[in-house]
């Protein structure tokens, strides 16, 4: 059935709205017996809902007049929405008469039971051909070939749907994508195998954000600033570094001090020099124009020899004692010390000059399982290498046809090859492997002989892929693949054991880094660049966002890894801090850039709602937004995405307010309360966001609004009358119904695991999973295991035989 979407919740009768009349719907043959005790619930609906949702008023395009128990299951999408709004307490809207909490709970339980028993088909038809997204591609390449690549450089960005980048229907291809995909395959193969005859290339590395005056993690202790570059050198040989000019003009700042610069290769000193100091000052005075070139020449043409493969190159300054400086002892940045010193802004690496061959690298070791000496052995060895790689890349047993296809690539490469033709052949075969649709796509095949509409379980090999991309965001490892190929994976005990093993493995960190960050919409954090005028100490070089992200990931990972209740995400008292984040939280005894676990004394900081990443993402660059924060709580914790605002709402423009006194956020949102069209949503959202108003837009605690000059007033009342005056009140109010958060979490998890949007018909499964884990306090692993066991994850329905317009292609084109 159709119904209008994104309408304000309270609306008077509109012409042309499709009325959903549910009276007198004939019971279909598959409807079960009506659930028990429906009279009280029907009375609740009549008293509190049918006033607006009547045939005459048709609020939101829905009418409940004449509702019968049988009609609930037949209109699952309407009632799933209704249930969602009731659970989130956004319906009945603020201002309307509210039933007491027990009545709402009873109504919700009754509706959910009806929906669960409705006997609707549970598995929607779906596209199961699922393309690897670029993160998965990079991870797969890493696990297959032991080579790290930057997928953002090689492949275009993936489209996002439902908040995630792994939704099958959004992952399409285009000619441009195919082109880049083929190029990427070639580039990765070259990187993995290396080239003994590599021509010189160049890479530029720039200093990251953050001050260049403190120690950069990974560089030797005792250095300050600088750049740490991780690079994959293409072959053995001589390389050269040119550091960006530092003596940029006569009589620049800082030249009066000696700045010792060091260049390291894998933490070994390769070069050192000094910029500045008395000698250089004399040079400027006496030689003048030629002096700059002479000083900068020390930064150029720094040569060293290195082997092929991964290396760390560092360019940094040695730290000087503050005693030598006339500057402030401490500038206002974490770890800040001397000012007016030189910075390493960038350097360029070029090479190899004189490529001298290829030493063993981790990727070559992985690939070359045999080293044929005689040419007679080469073909057999090539086939062995191909078969081993293809099995893991295609994630299934390989057929002779698969191997022969790739062997043709090998032969092409040998023909073109030159002196190391065997390696050229293998490199070409790997290019073909990575370009193959068998690598790019995960398919789930329909067993022969099934009728349209029948359901079937996906086979073990397909299940292994699905499982490893869910839990690890990469291809299955040998253990999992072997269990699948030998047909054991569908055994429930084996499956459960594999899930447990995979959760315990470090690779499950992707659930925190990838799933949770996407589920909470943390990409918004990339868009919020703190305003330097308003937050000089939390912007530009002192921007805390990257560190906040790390904190959030470490925090979530600890909850998952310790297999705690997912509700602990809201109430855990610990977090992970480094000096930067700690300072933002007002904690002064955490030093250094390393993240370490800390128990938080301030209870307002406990859980997700005290985390800087979330407080910043749900704000603007220059001010807080209780609306954004309230919407965040509604959507990600209550699972009720707020309705879109009506068109034409003017933005809050401080300039237009026209008073001489700066207003607090609460005052600026006064219209939300006075206008009934606005307050229907905002009376729910605003108190949730205002409760967090003591956290400014960079996550820092404040007691006063520094522009309005008054103390922050974070008091508010939820529609059901609960007072919520500060973050602790808010957290406690949310924790009163932990199942709600567990359900929201499970919905996200199921979406991510299945790679598709959830339909109303999936909700009974979600509820079953949540109910089943309630006794165990919603432990994380219990939810994961239940998702993996679910029909949504493991079963498919045979689609209809031939949709009109869809070509059926048999065999080769």
């Amino acid at each position: 059935m159709t119904r209008t979407s994104t309408r304000p919740i309270v609306v008077t009768s509109l012409a042309g709205v499709l009325v959903l009349s549910l009276s007198g719907v004939a019971a279909k043959s598959q409807a079960p017996a009506a659930p028990r005790a429906s009279d009280a619930q029907l009375a609740t609906v009549k008293q509190y809902c049918a006033g607006c949702h009547s045939d005459r008023a048709k609020a939101g395009g829905v009418s409940f007049e004449g509702l019968t128990p049988e009609s609930i299951g037949q209109h699952a999408d309407v009632f799933e929405k209704a249930v969602r709004k009731l659970r989130g307490r956004v319906m009945p809207p603020p201002g309307a008469r509210q039933p007491d909490a027990a009545s709402i709970d009873a109504l919700v339980a009754w509706l959910e039971e009806s929906l669960d028993h409705a006997g609707q088909p549970r598995l929607p038809e779906q596209v199961v051909l699922h393309r690897l997204n670029r993160k998965e591609y990079a991870n797969a390449v890493r696990d297959l070939l032991a080579v790290e690549i930057d997928a953002t450089e090689l492949l275009p960005a993936d489209d996002i749907a439902e908040g995630f980048d792994n939704i099958a229907t959004a992952l399409q291809v285009s000619p441009s994508f195919i082109e880049q995909y083929v190029i990427a395959a070639r580039a990765v193969a070259v990187k993995a195998v290396g080239r003994a005859d590599a021509r010189p290339g160049g890479w530029t590395f720039r200093a990251g954000p953050g001050t260049q005056l403190t120690h950069v993690a990974g560089l030797p202790l005792g250095t300050r600033g600088g750049i740490l570059a991780k690079v994959d050198l293409p072959s053995d040989g001589e390389y050269r570094i040119d550091v960006a000019d530092m003596a940029t003009h006569i009589w620049g700042n800082g030249m009066e001090f000696e700045n010792p610069l060091v260049v390291t290769l894998d933490n070994k000193l390769v070069y050192q020099t000094v910029i500045g100091g008395e000698e250089d000052m004399k040079l400027y005075d006496q030689v003048q124009n030629g002096a700059l070139d002479r000083v900068n020449a020390r930064l150029k043409n720094i040569r060293f020899t290195a082997t092929a493969g991964p290396h760390k190159i560092g360019v940094a300054f040695k730290r000087r004692t503050f005693a030598e400086s006339d500057d402030e002892l401490q500038i206002n940045a974490p770890g800040g010390g001397q000012d007016r010193l030189y910075r390493v802004n960038s350097f360029q690496l070029q090479g190899p000059f004189d490529a001298k061959g290829l030493s063993q690298t981790p990727s070559r070791e992985r690939i070359f399982s045999c080293h044929p000496s005689a040419s007679a052995e080469q073909e057999a060895c090539a086939k062995a290498i191909i078969a081993a790689l293809a099995r893991r890349a295609y994630r299934r047993p390989v057929s002779p046809e698969d191997v022969n296809e790739l062997f043709q690539y090998y032969q092409d490469g040998v023909k073109a090859g030159g002196p190391s033709s065997f390696e050229a052949g293998v490199r070409n075969a790997i290019t073909g492997l990575l370009a193959s649709p068998f690598f790019l796509y995960r398919g789930e095949h329909i067993p022969a002989g099934l009728q349209p509409g029948a359901t079937y379980a996906i086979n073990d090999v397909e299940l292994a892929s699905k499982l490893s991309f869910f839990l690890w965001n990469t291809i299955p490892d040998e253990d999992l693949l072997q269990a699948a190929i030998s047909g054991k994976l569908s055994d429930p005990a084996v499956l459960e054991r594999q899930v447990r093993r995979m959760l315990a493995d470090p690779r499950s960190e992707t659930l925190a880094a990838n799933f949770l960050n996407q589920w909470l919409d943390m990409k918004r954090l990339d868009e919020i660049v703190p305003d330097q005028a308003v937050f000089p100490y939390a912007s530009g070089r002192s921007d805390p966002r990257a560190d906040f992200r790390t904190e959030l990931t470490l925090f979530a990972d600890s909850i998952f890894r310790e297999d705690r209740s997912v509700v602990d995400l809201l109430r855990a008292k610990h977090t992970y801090l480094n000096e930067r984040v700690a300072l933002q939280y007002g904690i002064t005894d955490v030093k250094g850039e390393r993240f370490r676990r800390v128990e938080l004394q301030q209870s307002a900081r406990w859980g997700l709602l005290g985390k800087g990443a979330i407080l910043m993402a749900a704000a603007y660059p220059n001010r807080t937004s209780p609306v954004l924060r309230g919407a965040f709580v509604l959507q990600h914790i209550q699972g009720v995405p707020p309705a879109t605002p009506p068109p034409g709402v003017p933005t809050l423009d401080e300039k237009d307010i026209g008073t001489t006194k700066a207003l607090t956020m609460r005052e600026m949102m006064a219209k939300h309360r006075s206008n009934p069209t606005c307050s229907s949503c905002h009376a729910v959202m605003d108190p949730l966001g205002l409760a967090l108003e003591n956290f400014d837009a960079t996550g820092r605690w404040r007691d006063r609004d520094r522009y309005a000059g008054v103390a922050i007033d974070s008091s508010g009342t939820l529609p059901d009358g609960t007072a919520v005056n500060n973050p602790d009140d808010l957290r406690e109010a949310l924790l009163r119904r932990p199942g709600q958060f567990a359900q929201t979490f499970t919905e996200g998890l199921l979406t991510y695991a299945t790679g598709r949007k959830l339909e109303p018909t999936d909700m009974p499964t979600v509820r079953r999973i949540v109910r089943g884990s309630a006794a165990g306090d919603y432990r994380f692993s219990a939810l994961v295991q239940a998702v993996v066991r679910s029909d949504q994850f493991r079963m498919r329905r045979v689609p209809p035989a031939g949709a009109p317009g869809a070509p059926v292609i048999e065999g080769a084109h």
């Binding site: 195919i178 083929v182 296809e405 022969a448």
Partner: protein
């Protein structure tokens, strides 16, 4: 459906948004023949280049004293004397919207759109889109890259705005630019090999996709069909590219990286720009020679003061002289670009004949930070529509945006207004 120009342009636009992704030499060699067939008979492709430099010019050494065709070549433009008849010096224009309280921040970004930064999107939905991007909308669809944005100082502000809110990133590393233009492969032989290899990959991939399709549901087969369509489209282009005769154009080996020497860096960038035009990979280029408030020192000219402090000359004659030297040096390296275009023959003239190149700055007197009168010189004949060989001077408060609209008009690009423009400068 995949063979139409529309498909090509969407893909080209996808690539145009600043992604430094290496591309094989596919459509680069789709030049002359195919393209001209699509345009009205006998009209060669139009080219636009906008080359900007910071800190204005010492105006009495930039603007000739005489108006008209017989003017004495001013000092700063002396290196362009061989191309006098392609040169139109335009004096007296003012970029009023470019005058902001924060010149260092806004000079570059207001040069080619003549709209104040906070007025983007206000007067019209396109207010703030720069002239080069407007040109690219009309002539950028027929080339692989709709436009190219370059610089030698990557940290500077951006000249080109594709939409009122989206400035385009500028590439400064010649190697990255080369790879963007010509794809992977450091030498000609490598490029040809890669092209050939790509063809065989695509062919085999189609066979695999067909096998993938068996025993999939109908909707999945549609996914594979889309995949195959995309593969076939690239295959077609590869086949076309392989058939092209590439001997007419000399493509050098890929540069290794960014040279340390500034002259070499400029020469390399201008060479790449000329190649890009000759190979018809793009027809719209912006090049920011340096950023405002740059501290670069031109030690090759024996100048050790930073450019920015020097630009605050305070009317000191020695400082002004040094500035003239720097400005002349800029013209010198720029003239190499013009020279290459003048030597590049194509049907019905040289590339320079068919080009419109604006060389200038959004600042006039760097000591005063003003935008009036702006140094502006136009090179090229725009297919015979720009006279060249003259110095035209306009009265006080003539609008710089009028020059931009005039350049559109001379190239038959139907953009009638940009920024605060009011009409066309018919003398040009």
């Amino acid at each position: 459906m995949y063979l139409s120009r529309m498909r090509l342009s969407r893909r080209a636009v996808l690539k145009g948004v600043g992604a430094t992704i290496a591309l094989p030499l596919l459509d680069a060699m789709n030049p002359a023949a195919t393209v001209w067939a699509a345009t009205p008979a006998g009209s060669p492709p139009k080219r636009f280049a906008f080359v900007g430099f910071p800190h204005g010019a010492i105006m009495d050494r930039w603007s000739p004293k005489e108006v008209g065709a017989s003017f004495e070549m001013p000092t700063i433009l002396e290196p362009l004397k061989a191309f006098r008849d392609h040169l139109t010096i335009v004096s007296g224009l003012r970029n009023k919207p470019g005058e902001t309280p924060e010149p260092h921040a806004y000079i570059e970004s207001t040069w080619l759109n003549c709209v104040k930064p906070w007025d983007h999107g206000v007067a019209s939905p396109d207010a703030g889109v720069t002239a080069d991007q407007m040109a690219a909308r009309h002539i950028g669809q027929e080339t692989r890259l709709p436009s190219l944005e370059l610089t030698t100082s990557p940290t500077g502000a951006r000249l080109a705005w594709r939409t009122p809110t989206q400035p385009l990133p500028q590439e400064g590393n010649p190697r990255a630019v080369f790879q963007k233009l010509f794809g992977q492969g450091d030498t000609d032989a490598e490029r040809a090999a890669i092209l050939h290899e790509t063809g065989s990959i695509l062919d085999r991939v189609k066979g695999q996709a067909a096998r993938l399709q068996t025993s999939l549901g109908v909707r999945d087969r549609v996914v594979v069909t889309d995949y195959l369509d995309s593969v076939r489209e690239i295959e077609r282009r590869v086949q076309m590219a392989e058939k092209q005769d590439m001997t007419t154009l000399q493509i050098p080996d890929a540069p290794v990286g960014t040279p340390n020497d500034i002259t070499e860096h400029f020469n390399l960038m201008f060479d790449l720009m000329a190649l890009a035009f000759q190979a018809d990979i793009t027809r719209v280029i912006t090049f920011s020679m340096d950023h405002e408030a740059s501290m670069r020192t031109y030690t090759n000219l024996g100048i050790a003061e930073g450019f920015h402090p020097l630009s605050h000359h305070g009317n000191n004659p020695q400082k002004q002289e040094k500035l003239v030297q720097i400005q002349t040096f800029h013209t010198l390296v720029f003239s190499k670009f013009i020279e290459r275009l003048a030597k590049a023959q194509e049907a019905a003239g040289t590339v320079l004949d068919h080009s419109t190149i604006l060389y200038g700055s959004n600042m006039s007197n760097s000591d005063k930070h003003n935008n009036d009168p702006l140094p502006a010189a136009v090179l090229g004949h725009a297919n015979g529509r720009i006279k060249g060989g003259q110095h035209v001077k306009y009265p006080q408060d003539s609008r710089f945006a009028d020059l931009l609209v005039t350049l559109f008009d001379r190239n038959n690009i139907p953009v009638e207004k940009i920024g605060d423009s009011g009409g066309i400068l018919s003398e040009i």
